[in-house]
Symmetry: C2
Subunit: 315 residues, 2 copies
């Protein structure tokens, strides 16, 4: 499995690649694209003046602007790196500036809603190839990104039926250059899979952190001091970007509620096993969940080091 980005490409994949929204994901794509020379001209668009100023300082794009139309004009590929709930408005606003034959993609954690929001605004001859790189950290903003974020991670493409296959292949080539494995599936299936592997886990992490914060019998200081017993792990996910995650839940409502229903059913059974001291039921679950982690590690999706490789030794 590769452990570093490849060498720069002999020929750029795109003449003009425009990233809209320069947070963790946008800035990570930009850094890698710059390093790998994926585009002759790399354009960074953000509506926030402070972000644009910071991106100029960090110097990982050829053009940096708050002007959406100017940024996307002439682009072969435009990648929306904004919260899922903003995709429709951005697509509408950039429509007049898109060049014929351009490809529009995104990085949103929900795909059905992105297709529904963006597709109606695209002119004929502009191709929509939605993408979701399953990668990230709990940090946000242009300083948080890094070029190897997508290395050995999966990127899911969900082109609507009938999408131009050459356009799909160009987006695949982008993600493969960034070091990802690419899988293609329907937006509907994506939203179901991610509900259980990402959205419900985030929801219950936010929830337990909220529950702990509202305790009366246990002080905040105690919650913090004794968090190494397990709670602190959940606070990482619960420190993720609030706007991004609000939008995920609002835009993948059906699948999240379905998966949450199953989680709740299973939790009720565990609760009952505890109440009735059914040690066998508890042991049986706790023993079989170990195997899944071993698979995740052997598939290269997790570090084999104990405790995520958190440093215990002198730093």
């Amino acid at each position: 499995m590769p452990e570093r980005l490849g060498p720069a490409l002999p020929e750029p994949l795109f003449d003009r690649l425009t990233l809209v929204g320069i947070g963790l994901i946008g800035s990570s794509i930009a850094r890698a694209a710059r390093q790998l020379k994926l585009a002759r001209t790399l354009v960074a668009v953000d509506r926030d003046d402070a972000v644009v100023a910071r991106v100029r300082e960090l110097d990982f794009a050829d053009e940096v602007t708050t002007e959406l139309a100017a940024g996307v004009s002439g682009a072969d590929l435009v990648v929306l790196c904004v919260p899922v709930g903003a995709c429709g408005a951005v697509a509408e606003a950039m429509r007049p500036a898109l060049k014929p034959g351009a490809i529009v993609s995104d990085v949103g954690s929900v795909k059905g809603s992105v297709v529904a929001q963006v597709e109606p605004h695209l002119p004929d001859g502009v191709h929509l190839v939605p993408a979701h790189p399953v990668a990230g950290t709990e940090q946000s903003g242009p300083d948080a990104g890094f070029a190897t974020l997508f290395l050995n991670r999966w990127c899911i493409l969900t082109p609507p039926e009938g999408t131009d296959s050459a356009a799909v292949e160009r987006v695949r080539a982008l993600w493969e250059a960034l070091g990802s494995d690419v899988e293609v599936m329907s937006a509907q299936h994506h939203d179901l899979v991610l509900a259980i592997t990402s959205h419900v886990p985030h929801l219950i992490a936010y929830n337990i952190v909220g529950t702990a914060a509202d305790m009366e019998e246990v002080t905040q200081s105690e919650v913090i001091k004794f968090s190494a017993g397990g709670f602190r792990d959940f606070t990482r996910i619960a420190a993720s970007d609030p706007t991004m995650w609000r939008d995920v839940f609002l835009h993948n409502k059906e699948a999240v509620l379905e998966m949450l229903g199953r989680f709740n059913e299973d939790l009720a059974a565990l609760q009952r096993a505890i109440r009735w001291s059914d040690g066998e039921a508890l042991y049986s679950l706790f023993a079989r969940t170990r195997a899944i982690r071993r698979s995740i590690i052997s598939m290269g999706q997790e570090t084999p080091e104990p405790d995520f490789g958190r440093r215990h030794e002198p730093q």
Copy 2:
């Protein structure tokens, strides 16, 4: 904050220190005690022949035996490092061999039950000072331990009312030597605090991993591949020792069910917010949970590195 164990003590704290049960915690105490010269004679007891053989190879104890009575005989301090459910039987079995004035301690994640199980078996003049080092990894067994496991972590002592204060101070001295901060509280309060900071987090991690394993519409391969979206974090905790955790839930039933009830109430409110598209309620929770992680980091209980310091760069 110290980043390494201190130098060896000028005088050992104990003439004879016996550890019963040489898993992750027992072997970590042994390694640190050996390095710091905390005892003139360090004794390791385990009922499992294979563990005893391995501990001899690893060579971190002066005496290694499967014989409980021989191991605890003459000890100033005996620390039970066995699953919570085994403490009563071990206490009963070792009773005749305990020397007058000995201190008995443990490392269990539940304290009320340990007191209830162990206290009736101790002869007069033997002191019970229960302890819970809030530290660990998802790994188990004598190979998994390391000397710095307790460094900068908290250790909670829950001596029953009227416990000899000199005995409490000797156990405090042990944990401070191991690099921990020590706090004293009632067993009842301990069990409530740990229910929310450790036991319920483990329960919901085991539960989500079980739910994901039972999916029909989503394949196991998909769960594994796309686990970097959040799910993989939960698999670490859900890979913890099944026997230890079965016992925790069976022996802290009341507090776990109470805290789980609150978790469920809060989750029902979140579920309703999603169903009714209440973006403000979602955003408001997601924004305030960030602050707790910042506090945990600034209190030295978590790494400030993104993604727990998981390696993204070339290894």
